[in-house]
């Protein structure tokens, strides 16, 4: 099956920042993304868990498949939001099936 090179960008970010991140991605011309829930985790600021949380706490994972040519503006946009905030951005090389949508 014919595949095309793409970048898979995964951004772990605090839930209260989600809307700002996705707005920045859209503004940077990103054509699509998906948001996955995160149940808990640990880092420098200790352990946390979504269990029983009352407010919009915790983190989410934003996954974004993009054409390699569009990676730079995406990273700039994401980093602009994440900079002062808790947030991890990782990029992996991927192959995708359909070239549209990226």
């Amino acid at each position: 099956m014919q595949t095309y090179a793409a970048k898979r960008v995964e951004i772990l970010i605090e839930a209260p920042m989600e809307s700002r991140l996705t707005a920045a991605l859209t503004a940077a011309g990103v054509k699509g993304f998906s948001v996955l829930p995160v149940l808990g985790g640990a880092g420098q600021s200790g352990r946390w868990s979504a269990d029983g949380q009352l407010g919009r706490a915790g983190m989410v994972a934003v996954i974004c498949l993009v054409d390699p040519a569009r990676l730079e503006p995406l990273l700039d946009a994401a980093f602009g939001v994440v900079e002062r905030h808790i947030g991890l951005i990782n990029v992996t090389d991927a192959q995708v099936i359909r070239k549209t949508r990226f």
Partner: protein
């Protein structure tokens, strides 16, 4: 004083407080007891809807008049001013940076709707009436404190230009919209509306509150367990003293407004309580440098149980002593 302790004792032995204690114990003992996130959020929606609706029905006869607006203005003023006191106190008793102290201060200027609801329950049990519009006051007090905190952080040179989106977020925060919305629905539909939903918003309310407090105990216990080291003696003292300061300010406002005994207690409780739902999210957006565990552990792990067990009976005793029971 005796009276306060007796009341505190009685209060301690209600299912609500014991449920909170059970949750705290389970978390500290590292039991895997847990409440699903969706359930906690749904119970919070239910409790806020019911509180708002009941308040609205209570006001439906009298309507919104000058008294209501004056009480809301007083509440807003308290929410604006209390963070300044909290900030000053924190800078004295702790080593929190200006930004961190500002973030904590925002929580204490805002309110805890569950503390408010528990106090309403205690009043209802003792047959003390309170102004129905106090729930509107509680909604009005949710956010002004955030603005003061941002100003305090900016003064210290560390805050940043607040983006415009944040204002909308703060004012249209889910809990404010729900409280005010349910209050309006209660006002509009009045006793007729109440008759339709009474079996849902009144009868099971205290029971749902029990399960909700079990969850809050779990979250608070987990927080305390994780925050060892973060919270020193100074901060613990702050978590106990600040509600007393708030209650005193609330008492002053209530006396100036001429509130009833019940309304006075509720105003004290609002000023004495600290937020753990709406403000934490706003602080993550606006003051990300501040470690969220500090504020959350203080408000949920120390001030919340303090108010539940000692604060509410103490505020009631003081108000009774001044206004006459």
């Amino acid at each position: 004083m005796d009276n306060i302790l007796t009341l505190a004792g009685q209060n301690l032995l209600t299912p609500m407080i014991l449920c909170f204690a059970l949750g705290g114990f389970a978390a500290l003992a590292r039991s895997d007891l847990s409440v699903p996130e969706a359930a906690a959020k749904t119970m919070a929606l239910y409790l806020m809807f019911a509180i708002g609706f009941k308040g609205g029905v209570a006001v439906s006869k009298s309507g919104i008049d000058g008294h209501v607006l004056a009480a809301m203005a007083a509440g807003i003023a308290l929410s604006f001013l209390l963070p300044i006191v909290a900030f000053g106190l924190l800078r004295v008793v702790s080593r929190l940076s200006a930004v961190e102290a500002a973030a904590v201060a925002a929580h204490y200027g805002s309110i805890s709707i569950v503390t408010f609801a528990t106090a309403s329950g205690v009043l209802a049990l003792r047959g003390i009436e309170a102004e129905g519009y106090m729930v509107a006051v509680s909604a009005a007090m949710e956010s002004p404190a955030i603005i003061t905190a941002l100003w305090l952080a900016a003064r210290s040179g560390q805050g940043r230009r607040v983006e415009p989106g944040l204002w909308r977020e703060i004012l249209l925060n889910g809990s404010i919209v729900l409280l005010i919305g349910a209050f309006a629905i209660g006002m509009i539909t009045g006793p007729d509306g109440m008759a339709k939903v009474e079996a849902f918003v009144v009868a099971p309310w205290q029971g749902v509150l029990c399960l909700f407090l079990l969850d809050m105990g779990l979250v608070a216990g987990r927080g305390l367990r994780g925050a060892r080291g973060l919270i020193g003696v100074g901060l613990v003292a702050f978590g106990v003293v600040m509600p007393l300061v708030g209650a005193a300010a609330g008492l002053g406002a209530a006396l100036a407004l001429g509130l009833s005994l019940g309304g006075t207690v509720l105003m004290m409780v609002l000023a004495a309580s600290a937020s753990y739902i709406a403000v934490p999210a706003a602080m993550r957006v606006a003051l990300p440098e501040a470690n969220p565990s500090v504020a959350l552990t203080l408000s949920l792990g120390i001030t919340f149980p303090f108010n539940l067990v000692f604060g509410i009976p103490a505020y009631l005793a003081v108000a009774e002593a001044i206004l006459g029971g």
